[in-house]
């Protein structure tokens, strides 16, 4: 073949060079945060004038961040549980039953994806003020559930569409009732997608700023909002130290998921979820 020359053609070298530069583009803002977190001075300067752990010590003293992190994790877990259960039920209904206008129903359920987040956030704020539930924790949970729900529905309905429904018939034929069949036959088949959906949902919930910023009281911010508001006031590397910790968690998450799903399977899975969401959005 012409493309398998011993010396790769120039355009291949250019492409490789481009990929390296693009990789650098992707990694550098994260790498520089890590580097900056070890800086010894409070202002941004490159190369760092010295190295220290003072920003990590400073971070350790900031109870606000710690509290916010705990709140964010708990909220993301609760919201993910809700949207996973509710969303799985909805996806099952949409795929398994012939529902009049099911395309419309699905488009409606996925529409929060296209909605500008700030619009949803302000709308929720106004609504919760009107009904007097602004400071309720459940308002927050419900908000995060609505934001994550479309992704759960998109991922799980994509997975259920490829589910072999004769397995369900086989189980029922062997005497299993509907619930037993769901938990013993359907659920194990879609478990991987459910994990993917849960991870997606957790990440999305954890990263909410616009939808949540009006709903939390200053004393009970979630982590990204605490960081966002901190950044409005200060720019010192405390935030870099915190970001480094978060990047560390992200790397651990990638590693765990990669091990869990076999080598290199994660990006494909994540991408599949993204694809499902995008496909719905464009329809």
């Amino acid at each position: 073949m012409r493309t398998r020359n011993r010396i790769p053609p120039l355009r291949h070298l250019l492409l490789a060079l481009f990929s390296v530069l693009a990789g650098l583009f992707i990694v550098s803002p994260l790498a520089v945060v890590v580097l900056n977190s070890f800086s010894s001075v409070a202002y941004n300067v490159f190369p760092p004038e010295g190295y220290s752990l003072r920003w990590y010590r400073n971070l350790a003293g900031q109870d606000a961040f710690y509290g916010a992190a705990v709140r964010s994790v708990v909220l993301a877990l609760v919201a993910t549980s809700v949207s996973l259960v509710v969303g799985t039920m909805a996806a099952y209904a949409l795929v398994r039953y012939r529902i009049p206008g099911s395309d419309m129903v699905k488009a409606f359920l996925l529409s929060p994806i296209v909605m500008p987040k700030i619009v949803l956030g302000v709308a929720l704020f106004m609504f919760f003020v009107e009904v007097g539930s602004l400071n309720s924790y459940w308002s927050l949970v419900v908000t995060h559930a609505v934001v994550t729900l479309p992704f759960v529905i998109a991922i799980l309905s994509a997975s259920l569409v490829s589910f072999d429904w004769t397995l369900q018939e086989a189980a029922m034929d062997l005497g299993a009732g509907p619930l037993y069949t769901f938990f013993r036959v359907v659920l194990p088949q879609i478990s991987v997608s459910m994990i993917v959906a849960a991870v997606f949902s957790f990440i999305i919930s954890f990263d909410q700023v616009e939808t949540t910023v009006f709903l939390v009281r200053p004393s009970s911010n979630t982590l990204p909002i605490e960081m966002f508001l901190y950044l409005q006031k200060w720019q010192d590397p405390t935030i870099a130290a915190l970001s480094t910790v978060l990047i560390g968690f992200a790397i651990v998450l990638v590693v765990i998921l990669t091990v869990l799903f076999g080598k290199g399977a994660l990006p494909t899975r994540l991408a599949a979820g993204q694809k499902a969401a995008q496909k719905e959005e464009s329809s």
Binding site: T3, R11, F18, A22, I26, S28, P29, L30, V32, V33, N36, V45, F46, V82, G87, M89, A90, A93, Y97, R98, P100, G101, F108, L109, S111, V114, M115, P116, K117, I118, V119, L120, V122, A123, M126, F127, V142, A145, V146, D207, V209, E210, F214, P224, M227, L231, Q235, A240, S243, L246, A250, V254, P267, L270, A271, Q274, K275, Q278, E281, S282
Partner: protein
């Protein structure tokens, strides 16, 4: 009745006997989702819509019906500028992301070694996991006057004084392109993977060089992926809030930021109308890109 049609593969005659309760299971399964959506999506948007018809005068909310706020958006040049800036920002970010994303997807697709391909995919898609606040913050450090980018450019002798890359539109554009890159790469990459390799071989067999193959075969056939990527990028960029807040330094006033500020200033009608404009722009974007998508697929 619509409900009568619900049910797993029920013929017309059997509806009478078996189908009486057939609509119940799907309805029960959908009920929690529908309740949740009604409570935390539909009702809030209706409230939002209602507030867009009120007005804000002398520091107080006037509850009476009024189109004043809409009128201000229609005729005040201040708002025209905001809308124009928002569209321009989304447009430039989309072009930028596609210019980086398409060759990157092409490289991912053409790399022969699966291991390299996998790691490149991890590299491209993993940043989604990191909070957008962290990524935006990273760009403020990277693009700062004394940051690495200016340092390298100065050391290389390409510039004398540091470029103002941050706390203005430039920084916002670069950072947004970074944030949306995975969303652009993915649909393009998918459309490439779906290409039938024999089509390319057929073109080569017919004597086409790589450029002709790319221009006449690969590009047209991956155009739907490109359009889909641009669509998602443009829509997300319209609603971008965190990155313009952090990297704009108060100088980049786009619609989402305006809505945020109006809400914080308890000027709900302006926030609501701004949000409605944003919503309409998003819907128009989705609709026009869908049309473009259909056009790109037909060819």
């Amino acid at each position: 009745m619509a409900a009568d049609l619900i049910g797993p593969r029920i013929g017309p005659a059997s509806k009478r006997r078996r189908g009486r309760l057939a609509w119940l299971p799907p309805l029960l399964l959908l009920a929690p989702t529908l309740c949740l959506m009604a409570y935390a999506f539909v009702l809030p948007l209706l409230t939002f819509f209602r507030f867009s018809f009120h007005k804000f005068e002398r520091g107080r909310l006037q509850e009476a019906f009024s189109l004043d706020t809409y009128r201000r958006f229609m005729f005040d040049e201040y708002y025209h500028a905001i809308i124009f800036d928002t569209l321009r920002m989304a447009g430039i970010v989309t072009v930028l992301s596609v210019l980086i994303g398409y060759p990157l997807a092409y490289a991912m697709w053409r790399i022969g070694r699966p291991a390299v391909q996998k790691w490149l995919a991890v590299l491209v898609f993993s940043p989604i996991i990191v909070s957008v606040v962290v990524r935006s913050y990273g760009w403020t450090v990277l693009l700062a006057d004394q940051g690495p980018v200016n340092y390298i450019l100065q050391r290389a002798g390409m510039i004398d004084d540091p470029l103002r890359l941050v706390y203005n539109l430039t920084g916002v554009l670069i950072s947004l392109a970074h944030v949306f890159l995975p969303f652009v790469v993915f649909p393009i990459y998918t459309s490439m993977v779906r290409l039938d390799p024999t089509i390319k071989e057929a073109a080569e067999d017919l004597g086409a060089g790589w450029w002709t193959v790319f221009r006449r075969v690969t590009l047209p056939l991956t155009l739907p992926g490109l359009v889909a990527g641009a669509q998602i990028c443009f829509t997300l960029a319209l609603g971008a809030f965190v990155t313009p807040s952090i990297l704009g330094g108060g100088r980049v006033l786009v619609l989402p930021l305006h809505v945020y500020r109006a809400t914080a200033d308890i000027n709900w009608p302006v926030a609501a109308v701004g949000g409605m404009v944003l919503l309409v722009l998003s819907l128009l974007t989705v609709a026009s890109f869908n049309r473009l998508l259909r056009y790109s697929e037909v060819r």
